[in-house]
Amino acid sequence: MLFNSLEFAVFLPLVFLLYWFIIPKHKKFQNALILTSSYVFYGWWDWRFLCLILFSSIVDYYVGIQMQNTDIKKRRKQLLWLSVFVNLGVLILFKYYNFFAQNFVDAFTLFGKSVSLSSLDIILPVGISFYTFQSLSYSIDVYRRKLEPTKDWLSFLCYVSFFPQLVAGPIERAKNLLPQFYKLRKFNYNQATDGIRQMLWGFFKKIVVADNCAKYVNIIFDSAEDQSGSTLLLGAVLFSFQIYGDFSGYSDIAIGSAKLFGFDFKQNFRVPYFSRNIAEFWRRWHISLSTWFRDYLYIPLGGSYGSKTNVLRNIFIIFIVSGFWHGANWTFIFWGFLHALFFVPLFLFNTNRKYLNTVSENRFFARPKELLSILYTFAIVTLAWVFFRADNLPHAFVYFKTLFSPSLISIPDFVGEEKMLISLFFIGILIILEWFGRDNNHTLESINKHFSKPIRYTFYYLLVMIIFLFGVQEQPFIYFQF
């Protein structure tokens, strides 16, 4: 079920009413309803893959219980490996098998040997990369004794499959989310209204900004060789806003929906395009994934400790693996590699932790130097997105070859078109509102403090009508494929 579908518009209020009004006020009933509705939400897409979620959940629940029953280090390690094997095994089988098989065959062909490996004709289960990582993090935390394993199977199943974040995150840690299932949730007016506001902003970013950009991005990327350099630059910029609007929009809707049921998720995006360097960008973009890789891959590898060579190796590993997590394609690997290259100078000059505060704190406008840093960071991030969006590496290289041709100095195609102007206008609105809301957990969070009721409600009304009037119908979310 898509957040931007009519089905969800019926599903969410229905579950909300059942949750707060119909079922008895007891945490077990609340959890049972959450689990049922989460499985309905996922099964709406393809009920057969529910067994994968259930399998992954049961294995990790069992692993947690067994780890608690033993202090033998070897046994605990075996249990951890069981969890790793099952979760990553499922992920590799469904997501990466064909990629590895194809590359294996290609490698042998390169050396003149012919090998045949049959590819699997299987669908990639929606959200598999998200829920396997979430479930796996539980086992690792229990193994590290950072978390008490749960004996409440219902809560655990809810933790793995909670519908707002099931298919595209945020990847919630058990430490934050699981305890919320142990308690009876009580309706909190402020939390619920804040959730609605965050959802509203998420829908604007997805349906108005991302989906309007998508039309041009698809045209430009699909015919890159026929476009001028300036048009390709425009295409890359539009894709930057498409992917941001799409994914951060999804996160906002997910976090907002969870608030309606009394849950608090961690922030997943913190205005990443206002970052002053690439390190800051990665502290602000898809935070739940970056911190996952930091805690479960980078730090175990040695993190920032040890020799420079080791740290450099760790940086490349984490970025490349993070790229590969997005999809079984060399383009994602290259995208990750490119970000590692952007990051390395910051590490070498020890400036990777230079910007830990919000940009231009307590100021209306950015300082010129900050603005330049923001623009530079946005530019390199945008160029790297070309690899992310391209169908394959040759496609990306053709894109760059044409982009950096003399036709870069020309007026891009489409700029005079009505739909393009609408897209650019809403990108402008997004930038302005996000700039003024950059200190908050989400853009509309503090609107209560600054504006009177009539102004607020007029604004909400306008925003809903803009979403309705300018929205594009039911486009799937990009991150569903990951």
Binding site: L6, W20, F187, Y189, A192, T193, I196, N212, E418, Y457, Y460, Y461, V464, M465, F468, L469, F470, G471, V472, Q473
Partner: protein, 301 residues
């Protein structure tokens, strides 16, 4: 909780009313189909593909024939080739209380063909999944089902649409577009190239012909039926003759069998002008409509 719910419900009602208001404003400028599937039941339907949609002006037919009020209920090749979907839609649209109606059915090889491996497999007919095959009503305004599930443009187009194409009250398409000869030539070349490729994938469907017969039989209960093959650019005619070289023989045979008239204008392609190679410009459409009306008048006993 109570306050939250009250606020949400009131806000939702305001929003839903606004949305309904926007939907009420949908009309012939909103998109090329809305007016056709949101007007009341109609008599003397004019059926066929987009060629018919542009070429036959009910207002001119009505004026010449008198006593009828016809309606252009033609869509596109993907939406309204002859088949079960179109027949059901026609049954929904037709006002059966009116007597002595006149029905004009556009025919050409494309509306009797399909691009599936088995051209007679009803399940593979493309129009099944198109809006005519999925909407539940073709006579209500606002047509919520169509607007919610099939309206392909952002809804702002309902309030503000600068497209030169619009649907007249009589269901026919009009366009205020002024195209240069160079542009038309380019369009023509592209269209012919596209149809040349398309022609290789399409095959005559005897099932579609059977549905055409069913449609004729159904309509004959309420009036007279006329089959028309429209004039098109002669180069395009050559392409579609490859798809079905015996088309005119088949149609003549069928029209005799079913006792309906078949008017073949296909050889007059160079007498009329088009936006591309088969969609007629308004001036030509008016001329052709008058000619068709005269032929109908002459053929009447």
């Amino acid at each position: 909780m109570k306050i939250f719910l009250i606020k949400i419900v009131v806000f939702a009602l305001v929003i839903l009313s606004s949305i309904a208001g926007v939907f009420y404003m949908a009309d012939g400028k909103s998109d090329p189909f809305y007016k056709k599937i949101s007007s009341a039941k109609q008599s003397s339907l004019i059926l066929g593909s987009s060629r018919i949609g542009y070429a036959i002006k009910p207002s001119i037919i009505d004026k010449e024939l008198g006593n009828i009020q016809s309606f252009n209920y033609a869509f596109t090749y993907n939406t309204s080739p002859y088949g079960l979907t179109y027949l059901n839609s026609v049954k929904q649209k037709l006002d059966t209380t009116v007597e002595n109606q006149v029905f004009i059915l556009g025919v050409d090889p494309w509306v009797l063909s399909n691009d599936s491996q088995d051209p007679n497999d009803l399940n593979m007919f493309l129009e099944n999944k198109n809006f005519l095959g999925t909407i539940t009503t073709v006579n209500s305004h606002p047509n919520f089902n169509y607007l919610i599930h099939n309206y392909s443009e952002p809804y702002i187009k309902i309030l503000y649409n600068r497209s030169p194409l619009f649907v007249e009250d009589d269901g026919s398409w009009s366009s205020s577009l002024q195209l240069s000869d160079k542009y038309i030539l380019k369009q023509k070349k592209e269209l012919i190239a596209r149809y040349t490729v398309k022609q290789e994938a399409y095959q005559f469907s005897s099932l579609r012909l059977a549905y055409l017969k069913q449609t004729i039989s159904y309509l004959k209960t309420y009036g007279e039926v006329y089959l028309i093959r429209l004039p098109i650019d002669l180069d395009l005619l050559e392409v579609e003759n490859k798809l079905m070289s015996n088309f005119d023989d088949v149609l003549e045979h069928m029209s005799n069998e079913m006792s309906v008239h078949y008017f073949n204008f296909s050889t007059q392609g160079d007498v009329f002008n088009y936006f591309d190679a088969h969609h007629m410009i308004p001036e030509s459409a008016n001329r052709l409509s008058l000619e068709i009306a005269k032929r109908i008048k002459q053929s009447k006993p």
